[in-house]
Amino acid sequence: MTEPLIRTEGLTKRFPRVTALDGLSVSVGAGVIGLVGANGAGKSTLIKILLGLLEPTDGSAHVLGLDVATSGAQLRALVGYMPEHDCLPPDVSATEFTVHMARMSGLPPSAARERTADTLRHVGLYEERYRPIGGYSTGMRQRVKLAQALVHDPRLIFLDEPTNGLDPVGRDDMLALIRRIGTDFGISVLVASHLLGELERICDHVVIVDGGRLLRSSEIAAYTGRTELLAVEVTDGAHEDGAAVMARALAGAGLAVQRDGRLVEVRIADEGTYDQIRDAAAELGVGLVRLQQRRHRIEEVFADAGA
């Protein structure tokens, strides 16, 4: 199969007062795809065009090999959509709501009920699924929103800011769930977020948009490949500034050293570098808090592009 999951060419969307997308051409394959950009970068507009709901001013887009302009209904049977905003009626239960939405995707009544039970379990809703949604926490609501996007077993789901409003634990759970949808469920995911940090943890591929234009599109490994740097953090011990003495000692041992706030960054020369760091810490009487191989962070892409 050579047809990419999503392919856009010169995609442009102008609203009366604002240009949301400006000649966006991008092509991505199956997997978990991150769509990153600041608020107003055109993420939601792009998703709506890819769903065939919004007509582009110019350019074309194909999703799962289907032209969004001409095969909208056919396409929408194969995809799921979790909007950014709240979209749940408070006075029905998660089960009733999801069954109805499954039927709205064309599932016969019995299949809709079965798939609803399965899907709610997969997103982590158990006994509470029979209670009215109005009493749910934000985390549970997000799970119901995700369930209605998954219930018809789509080939691709669009998630618009799925971690919005979640606390750190809820955020981690949601991200783990999204990752699992991509790997275990075999459903491709396009997840939009303005938070780069969370996407680099779960995505195979990241597309960065800014002001409606493509900033960069590549495999996550290209952003976050391992570097040859070790981050070292030490306690002060008996010294006034533990990091400073540590940096001096390591530099004295012939290593390339660089300070980064409380951290000391050491370029790895060979396997012996780890031993040298351990010995230096022992000799100075400082505690070794952290010894970690550094990765590139997606943020650096923005820093590079901005420069």
Partner: protein, 301 residues
């Protein structure tokens, strides 16, 4: 139990709780419209919702049935004829059914707007026209149940009282036809107004106001016109309020010569009836057109 098939390509998944793909039937547009129709019709009577949503529609249904039951009891005991024509029942009870339109039309459309569920429908194979069709049909059906049920009670009572079978069958069929006309026109007006606002309360107030104010205005104009001896003006004043519009239309359709409810009021005859047909049709078309525009906009949001 058959041995599980060895899975390939899955490496070290501990938390695999077995996601199953769905490869069963995916039904087409008509199934979606039917499902949404059924869900909305049930919703109009509060079914599938908390008990308190059923109170209002069921009270109103009871209020609609009550006069019919009384009439049936009187007819059976007295052995006389039914008190009224079948076609008269809906206009006489219009206070009850107009509350139903005001209360339940927003129930059908405002909820999806207010809770922003609309985008979930339009990110599915359903188009906005399908959505409008299902909602319009559901509201019409809900009204037809409300307006038709008492007519069937009257008919049942008439048969119990051994009233002439054919005359009553013809009568109830006319009544049901009229009820269907009322339902289509009222559903359109109710839904179009309700779809403007996501606030249910505003929708309720707007619908009841428009029905009652237009009725009061039309009645006032009629009263003045009749006292000034201008029956034609009085006749056309009926066009501007939904119940009188449809009532005149059904009287013309069934060639009733005299307005049974208000005998001074003229009834359209001959080509005059076509004006009533045209205005009723235009009301339905305008309501449907407005809803289509409204949801075409909502689908691209």
């Amino acid at each position: 139990m058959p041995a599980p098939e060895p899975r390939t390509g899955v490496t070290g998944v501990i938390h695999d709780i077995g996601y199953r793909n769905y490869d069963g039937a995916r039904l087409g547009r008509w199934y979606l419209v039917r499902s949404l129709f059924a869900q909305s019709l049930r919703g109009a009577y509060g079914l599938g919702r908390p008990a308190r949503s059923r109170v209002m529609p069921l009270l109103l249904l009871a209020a609609m049935l009550f006069p019919a039951l009384i009439m049936v009891v009187v007819t059976v005991i007295s052995g006389g004829d039914l008190e009224i024509d079948y076609t008269e029942y809906v206009p006489i009870t219009f206070y009850i059914s107009s509350i139903f339109v005001a209360a339940q039309a927003p129930q059908l459309v405002s909820r999806d707007l207010r809770f922003r569920t609309v985008p979930l429908y339009f990110s599915r194979p359903m188009g906005y026209a399908d959505y409008v069709l299902a909602k319009y049909a559901a509201m019409t059906a809900a009204l037809l149940i409300l307006l038709g049920a008492p007519l069937l009670v009257l008919y049942g009572g008439a048969l119990l009282a051994d009233l002439p079978f054919w005359a009553n069958t013809r009568g109830v069929l006319k009544g049901l036809t009229g009820a269907a006309l009322f339902s289509v026109v009222l559903a359109g007006i109710g839904l179009a107004i309700a779809s403007v606002t996501p606030r249910r309360g505003f929708g309720v107030a707007a619908i009841i106001t428009i029905i009652l104010v237009s009725y009061t205005l039309a009645s006032t104009v009629e009263g003045i016109a009749l006292s000034e001896d201008k029956p034609t003006v009085a006749l056309y004043a009926e066009l501007f309020t939904p119940y009188n519009l449809v009532n005149s239309l059904q009287l013309w359709l069934f060639q009733v010569r005299e307005n049974p409810t208000f005998d001074e009021l003229p009834v359209p005859h001959g080509w005059q009836g076509l004006i009533f047909v045209a205005v009723a049709a235009a009301t339905v078309a305008a309501s449907a057109g407005f809803l289509l525009l409204r949801y075409r906009k909502a689908s691209a949001r």
